[in-house]
Symmetry: C2
Subunit: 202 residues, 2 copies
């Protein structure tokens, strides 16, 4: 299923067509494609080029490992994410590698890396659904995530599937149009809340 | 100047060719293109679709506003960013709009939105250089950024220019190859530090 953004101003197809489905095809992801996904994350921008991103990945091809990660998700997400061929958890290293000081952009930069990953997925015909709904402490305990590292988001990765396979409520959400507030609500100039002139032309 | 990522595994051209130059052409950005940049940010993914991103934008076409934002940057960045036609500061709303509770993904999601913005720039022949080197408190005071909102990153936006215009040291950095740690250093499975099997195939 395609679900292109109803954008007010034209944006690159890759960006427009990326979305976060809950229905996945019952199909493994080729290892070569998985490498491409994380290679895309690799080339994201980061403060001091610190690259504070880490990913723990679980494939359904390894049922015990898959279940271990699935157990870190909240129940609502387990219900649909169990059908994805691959799960992952992103982690931010919150102190700089070069001097151990706090990196106030660590989480920001992980967000950038994961966005790149999701766009690379889109480019390969795959899709990524990131989730806030998981238990960071359980992830920390399960995977021995060290201090100064913060579990950020869980994600389901796979080939997008048929929404008909989802329970009623989720199917409705899957089919409903994508929505965002317009840029006039978040692009300012001169002062907070003052809409930038180039936005007003619209 | 093009500076495609020397990727180990092939990634989408848009992702490979995005980089963060310091040399910009002396050329304004068309308002229509600016709208496209922020439209791309608009369609990023976010926790609870909260869309916690804001941008304050200053164009060199308005010298007083441009200087006001330039003054928020550290000196090192002022030296080259003053030649960019547009500056911006990204801001994260750190509490959810729907219930006022802390959004632990606010900064993460701003990182995703800004990555989308930078990729849209790449798609239009523009480039974005994000900077940690600015004074968040000065930005807060200058633009009356409210409590529960965190100034995240400054950015210079423009058409990439000739590195020859940069001072010696910066020109060297501008011409040097891009580098990142390989995915084997940050993609794990089963336990922290245990390289994922699909990575090892390489």
């Amino acid at each position: 299923m395609k679900k292109s953004a109803p954008a007010h101003f034209s944006i690159d197809t890759l960006l427009a067509e990326r979305w976060s489905p809950r229905a996945f095809e019952d199909r493994s992801i080729e290892p070569a494609r998985l490498r491409q996904l994380f290679e895309a994350a690799r080339w994201a921008a980061s403060s001091y080029n610190d690259q504070p991103w880490f990913y723990i990945v679980a494939s359904r091809d390894n049922p015990a490992e898959f279940q271990k990660m699935l157990d870190c998700l909240v129940e609502f997400n387990q219900a649909w994410a169990k059908a994805a061929p691959v799960l992952a958890i992103s982690v931010a290293r919150t102190k700089f590698k070069h001097d151990g000081s706090v990196n106030r952009h660590a989480q920001h930069d992980v967000g950038a890396a994961s966005a790149s990953l999701a766009l690379q997925a889109q480019s390969l015909g795959l899709a990524v659904h990131q989730m806030a709904g998981f238990d960071p402490q359980r992830a920390r305990d399960t995977y021995h995530i060290p201090a100064d590292h913060e579990p950020m988001a869980a994600m389901a990765i796979g080939y997008p599937g048929d929404p008909a396979a989802l329970p009623d409520k989720l199917r409705e959400r899957e089919m409903s149009p994508r929505s965002r507030r317009p840029i006039s609500e978040f692009v300012f100039a001169g002062d907070w809340g003052s809409v930038a002139p180039f936005v007003k032309h619209t």
